[in-house]
Each structure stands twice: as structure tokens, then as C-alpha cells.
Amino acid sequence: MLDLLPQWLRDGIGDDVAFWIGYFTNGKHLLWYASVQYTVTAALLGGLLALTLGLTAAAIRNSAPAPFRLLASVYINIVRGVPDVLFFLFFPLVFEQLVEWIWSAQICTPETLALNTGQWPPCDAANWRLSTPEYLLMASVSLGIVYGAFTANVIYGALRAVPYGQLEAARAYGMSRFQVLSRIHIRQMWVYALPGLSNVWLLLIKATSLLSLLQIVDFVTWAQRLGSANYSKIAGLVHPDWRWQYYLVLLAFYILVTWLSERVFGALTRRVRRGMPIVAEEAM
């Protein structure tokens, strides 16, 4: 990308600077910058799913028949016991095997089954060939499931914090249970939920650093590749181990995203707090 600069500028900044600009904008580095898309996609999709699951699970836990409440409770509490890394690795593998199992029951003929004894999948035609888009989708779903449980916890607490008098008044006006839930309960809940939700969002963003564990060539993998010492001239610039500098850039990126998210949530909180009869607190 150095050739995009006009010649007089290239002469003006000198050879050294020009070299480094050229290096940090070569194909490899551009791919590194572009791979941020995976992180952002996973965070947004995962966040959306987490919010949906969280709202559903919290609503169920609040007011539904006992067996459903127990299920919702188990779902919400299981993340307190199992690391998110484990879910992250576990879920895509399980999902893939489930899909392949269903396919193999329908597609596999006895001949192909006999060919493949002892291995998975049972026959070759039932093999689901995965590539980056599928892995990214499954990673987003895993993130959504894990952080959905956290979100459900936050929203459940927020639902209970809405003054009960408001709900009683709505019922007295003749609103159906669903109308009370959607018009009054959930709308009033946001101001209590936002601090907790912002916490969960920050955890979610940091969890996107684990995408490389699912064979997605993301931000972190590229930093590893670029930073690793290169001892071979044909592979490009010969350089010693620069890894910690590249990782520092990653850390700076995440801190920047954290800072931006805090600003956005602050603005959201201010908006949601308009006209609400509560005292503005500093750190909830």
C-alpha cells in the first residue's frame, strides 16, 4: 500500500519510515486488520442472542410453571460452575456431531457404513465440512448461550426491582398479563438492568478473543503469525520475536473497545433514565 502515497511524500518522509509504512501495510498486515470483522461479528451476534435468551429465560424464571422454572434456573446457574472456554470448545463439536448423526441415519448406505468402521462420522457422505462462516456462526451461538445465562441473571434481578405498584396499577386498568409485561414491566426494567448488562457486554467482548480456538483465523491468530520470529528470507522479512509488541496492540484494541462500550452504555443509561423517579447514582 506504500504505492498509494505520491512520490514527493515518499521522498519526504525518508527511507526508514517508508519501509515501516510499507511493512505494516503489506498483504499480511492488511489481512490482520481485516480480521477484526470476525471479532466484531461474533460479539454483535453473540450479544444479540444473549439478550434474547436472557429475556426469555428471565421471563420464564419469573412466572411460568415449576418444571420450566427449574430448567431456566439450571440454565442460569450452570455458567457459574463451568468455564466459558469449555462451552466454547464443547458446543460446536457437539452440534457438529449431532448434525452428522442425524444425516448419517438418513444418508448412509450399508456399504459406506462398512467402509468406515470405528471412525466418526459413520459414513463419508454424512461428513459436514466446516469452514470459517460455519465456525463463526457456532462461536456466536456458543457466546450467546453462555452470556445469555449471565444476562438472564441480570434481567431477572432488574425485573424484580421494578416497583410492584406500577404492575398492580396496570392490572387494575385492565391490561392483560402480556400487555403488562411488554408495556410496563420490560420497559421499566432497562434502567435497573443496564449496569449489569454493560458488565456482561464487556465480558462478552473479552470472550471473543477465544475465537482462534475454533480454527477461525482471527485477530489473535494473525498477531501470533506476524509476531513470531521469521528465520526464512523467502517467507518475508527476517525478524526476531516481536510477539509481545503485537500482543500489546491487541490489548490496546480491546481497551479501546471497552472504553467505547462504556461511553455507549453511559449514553444509553442517561436516555433510559429520563423521567424516571430514581436518584442518579455514581457506580451501581
Binding site: S73, N77, V82, V85, L86, V94, Y247, Y254
Partner: protein
């Protein structure tokens, strides 16, 4: 092998690796606890420089993923190998995962715990502290008799959560630091077993079971400690693991 036999065998195989995770957590927690107290006091200090530095440290470690912190500090320690650790003769210690893992964990948990302690610090009843000052107590006496008891009781539930999260974070250590010989932790061992026979449910479920049981144990023990700490307070919330409350 029947399913039950397979599960029991799996539990045996993963018992030793579980100890590595427990070791990482147990080594990092006391250090984190101690330094967090100083960091929280630093953040609340009227000294501008100290306060800014403390805030910066907390913001850095809470705002970035632990996974990448592990990578970065390992690479950083490595780059100082020839210039600093070797001349001092401690390179075998500094670069060993059993030292570096807990060290980076401690750096991380100090920040999170300090934030919890700082939040608790701001809710210590000001009247009590002023009364103590009026009585002529020194800073040390005030801290020991008034501030600290309040702080630890207010912070304990959130701190319990942090300890469990720390334990979960130990699963990431061997994804980033080199594995020396047979010193494998739960995730590493489960992954190795999985690569041999692709039985996702067996290996990863039993690993999850270990994490779940140890997390529950931590919640239980810390709950007992909380009840003991709060035994003289009116209307204290019992931190029992109450199934009925889960259904309500």
C-alpha cells in the same frame, strides 16, 4: 466398557490434571487478595499520582482479555531472558509455567479484586470513621477496627464470584504457556484424550463436571465463611445453597 465404567475411568484420568487447575488458583488468590487491598487504598487515596496509577492498572487489566494477557506476558518475560533473568540465575523459575501462570493470574485478579474492594470502600459508613477520628485513633487503628471489617463483609459476595471466575480462568493457562512434559491441566488432558477417540461427550463432560464440583465447593466454603463473618449482624442473608430459592 459400560458407560458407568467409562465415566469412572475418565474421572480417574482427569483427577491429576484437576490438581494443576487448583494449584494455579490457590497460588494466585492470596497474592491477589493482598495486593488488591493496597491497590484499592491507592485508588481511593487523595494523592493524585497514586490514584491515577491505581486506576490505570485496574483499567488495563479489567479492560483486556485474560487470554491475551497470558500471551503478552509470556512473550515479554521471554524477551528479557538473556538480558535479565539469565544473569540473575532465575530464568528456570521465571519462565516456568508453574510460576508464570499464577503470576499472570495474580496480576489479573488483583485488578478485579481491587475494583470490588474499592466499591466496598466507598460504602463504609462515613459516620463511624469520623467518630473514630474524633476519638483520636490513628490511621492504622481506624483501618484495622472500622474500615477493614466493613469492607470485607460488604465485598465478600462479589469476591466469591471473582474467586470462582479466577478458577475458571485457569483453564486458559495451558492454551498459551508451553506444556512441559506431563504437566497437563484439565482442558489440556481432555483435549488430548478427545484427539484420540473423538468422544466429545465423555471427555469434555467429565472435565466440566470437575469444574462444576470445585466451583460448588468454593461457593459452599466461602458461604460458610460469610455466615460466620455476619453472625453478629441483624438479618444477615444466609448463603445457603437453597433449592427452594432456585424454584421461586
Amino acid at each position: 466398557m459400560s458407560v458407568l465404567e467409562a465415566i469412572v475411568h475418565e474421572i480417574e484420568l482427569l483427577a491429576m490434571p484437576a490438581l494443576f487447575n487448583i494449584y494455579f488458583a490457590a497460588a494466585a488468590i492470596p497474592i491477589g487478595f493482598l495486593f488488591a487491598i493496597f491497590l484499592a487504598l491507592g485508588k481511593a487515596s487523595p494523592n493524585k499520582l497514586l490514584s491515577r496509577l491505581s486506576r490505570g492498572y485496574i483499567y488495563f487489566f479489567r479492560g483486556s482479555p485474560f487470554f491475551i494477557q497470558l500471551f503478552m506476558f509470556y512473550a515479554l518475560a521471554l524477551s528479557f531472558n538473556i538480558s535479565v533473568w539469565k544473569p540473575l540465575g532465575i530464568d528456570w523459575l521465571v519462565l516456568h509455567p508453574l510460576f508464570l501462570g499464577p503470576a499472570i493470574l495474580a496480576l489479573n485478579t488483583t485488578a478485579y479484586t481491587a475494583e470490588i474492594f474499592y466499591g466496598a470502600l466507598t460504602t463504609v459508613p462515613r459516620g463511624e470513621v469520623e467518630g473514630a477520628r474524633a476519638y483520636g485513633m490513628s490511621w492504622g487503628q481506624r483501618f484495622r477496627r472500622i474500615v477493614w471489617p466493613h469492607l470485607i463483609r460488604i465485598a465478600w459476595p462479589a469476591y466469591t464470584n471473582e474467586v470462582v471466575f479466577l478458577f475458571h480462568a485457569t483453564a486458559l493457562v495451558y492454551f498459551t504457556l508451553p506444556v512441559i512434559g506431563d504437566q497437563k491441566d484439565l482442558m489440556n488432558k481432555a483435549g488430548e484424550l478427545f484427539e484420540r477417540d473423538y468422544k466429545v461427550f465423555l471427555h469434555y463432560s467429565v472435565a466440566a463436571l470437575y469444574f462444576l464440583c470445585i466451583s460448588l465447593a468454593v461457593f459452599f466454603v466461602f458461604g460458610l465463611i460469610y455466615r460466620r463473618m455476619m453472625r453478629h449482624m441483624p438479618g444477615a442473608v444466609p448463603m445457603r445453597f437453597n433449592f427452594q430459592r432456585m424454584l421461586r
